[in-house]
């Protein structure tokens, strides 16, 4: 009998586990609600008609209830919905909303046991999926940590029903704070009874003398029987400088070839036989408490295409709280002229402006110059400005922003946003 976890079965199983397995004391319930309401306005060409108004309103709602400060029972949910005020065809083929997660959690106060049932995200090793099901994690003594999960994947189309969709997997790791962690993980994902992904992952963190660390992972595609990815990096702290050289190797056949799960444009990549090796170096220099300098260098080497390189430099000045102003300049040098561009960005965020009647002000200017014109244009300009402030002891935040873009796709695009964030806490 293969495992087939429907949402209702998973819920019943978890309920039984919670009732039978756990000694229960129910302290006062804490509640946290966060509502993000966003209303956009812009113009788009729809169905051959130019300049039609598009005005969606979004509600992102998060509710947490139960024991939120301490371990125990709790419920967590987050989802979004859209209302199309312009009521035209722009959103015709899209979902109107989605429950991103909604799960019951039991975190045992004495051990590291963590049990979750419902719609949730699993993250650990090769597992990085939204599931309707069950997740159990915890420490097995001082050195071992385990994660197992099973249920139905959320990301598939439900046109053929979800009864034959299945995901299960887990991770087992051995760790010691001073020396590192070694883990092995597995995931099996089936869509309508056909394997969509079957992956095995090995992950490693090795803590070396002088606070140097080596970490990374290797993922094997068990369905296509080949290594999909090897990604490893060193972190070398030379205070106040941190150097991070990294290496990655990707075999497109096994990396993009995820069975019936493969979607375009990745389906094409999975059959082109390319292999990519990435070598890079990130360097950050904490010049002072207020100033960070950073340098990014990355090189791509292929089996079939010629190589490409990217380099950028970044200077950031930090003030109080989130206040910062920065400038970044980078250049991408692909093999072909159409793969070369210069990217510059000037950004700023000024926090704590209450004495001027606003809470914060943000600005962002991104200018890119393309070596070969795209749709007759060889550069693009993006400008974003925003202001906002808190009310009622940060329970309400109101924000107004506008984005302008002139690029190969838009002669002049203007998008406005009005948002209200409301937070409610009951302890």
């Amino acid at each position: 009998m293969k495992l087939r976890l429907s949402s209702s079965r998973a819920t019943v199983m978890a309920g039984l586990a919670l009732i039978v397995g756990m000694p229960v004391t129910l302290p006062a319930v804490e509640i946290h609600i966060q509502s993000d309401t966003r209303i956009y306005g812009m113009e788009r060409d729809i169905g051959g008609v130019e300049g039609q108004m598009v005005a969606p309103g979004y509600e992102y709602l998060r509710i947490d209830a139960g024991q939120l400060q301490e371990k125990g029972f709790s419920f967590h949910s987050y989802g979004w919905g859209r209302l199309d005020f312009a009521d035209n065809e722009f959103f015709e083929h899209r979902e109107d909303g989605e429950l991103l997660y909604g799960y019951l959690q039991y975190a045992d106060p004495e051990s590291g046991l963590d049990l979750r049932v419902g719609r949730q995200t699993v993250a650990g090793g090769v597992g990085n999926d939204a599931i309707d099901g069950l997740q159990l994690s915890g420490d097995l003594g001082p050195w071992l940590v385990a994660l197992v999960y099973g249920g139905q994947p959320v990301g598939f189309s439900s046109d053929n029903g979800r009864t034959d969709d299945l995901i299960y997997g887990g991770r087992l790791g051995i760790h010691q704070g001073r020396f590192g962690e070694l883990g092995v993980s597995y995931k099996n994902l089936e869509n309508n009874n056909v394997i969509a992904e079957e992956a095995l992952g090995l992950d490693l963190s090795l803590f070396l003398p002088a606070n140097i660390s080596l970490s990374g992972f290797s993922n094997r595609n068990l369905d296509s029987k080949g290594w999909a990815e090897h990604s490893y990096e060193l972190q070398i702290p030379l205070n106040p400088v941190l150097i991070r050289p990294y290496f990655g190797e990707y075999d497109y056949e096994h990396y993009f070839g995820t069975g019936v799960n493969t979607v375009n444009p990745f389906r094409v990549l999975a059959i082109n036989g390319e292999k990519l090796r990435v070598i890079g170096l990130d360097t950050t220099w904490k010049y002072s408490d207020a100033i960070d300098l950073a340098l990014k260098i990355k090189g791509n080497d292929y089996d079939r295409m010629n190589g490409s390189e990217y380099a950028s430099g970044l200077v950031t000045w930090h003030g109080a709280e989130l206040t910062q102003v920065g400038v970044e300049v980078g250049y991408m040098k692909g093999d072909l002229d159409k793969q070369k561009y210069l990217l510059t960005r000037l950004f700023g965020y000024l926090d704590g402006l209450e004495e001027y009647g606003i809470g914060f002000m943000s600005g962002d200017v991104v200018w890119a110059r393309y070596d070969q014109p795209i749709y007759g244009k060889d550069d693009s300009l993006f400008v974003s400005l925003g202001v906002g402030r808190d009310f009622l002891d940060e329970a309400v935040e109101v924000e107004l922003s506008a984005d302008y873009s002139r690029d190969p796709y838009f002669d002049a695009d203007l998008r406005g946003l009005f948002s209200v964030t409301y937070r409610y806490d009951h302890e």
Binding site: F266, S308, R345
Partner: protein, 158 residues
Amino acid sequence: MMLKKISGFSFLLLLALVMTACVALRAEWTPPLQHPADAGLGKRPPICTDCHEARNENFNWQRFNHDTFFGDNHRQQAYQGSRVCSMCHQQNFCNDCHASTSVELTPSVKDPSATYRRSPHRGDWITRHRIEGSLDPTSCIRCHRNPKTATTCAPCHG
């Protein structure tokens, strides 16, 4: 392969075993559910080693320093230490960028004022992704890998 032959019964047995073992074999130290609120973290992305030692027998704090490129490179930390992330970030914080199902709005559209984040889709990304996607498409699939998250790719890529 043995793993493919896993049955519903054996999976449930594995769950029960792990649950029992978790309760019986207690760890000497586990991360708290939330970072202590009185630590005064403030709004600025934290450098953990400003308060913690780089590493001790329980934990390596240095790995979680939110330096300039942490937003670009935190895969390994999430791969091995997601429960450390959850001490400060609720799941929705991750979902806004990494949802395995439809979120519709990219992070830089949902929060355009968050200029202190290095959102990859900022600016004229629709043009730049023609170039970056051809030179290194490996990062695209991490978010757009299933039918629901690939709906934004479909209008042009089929």
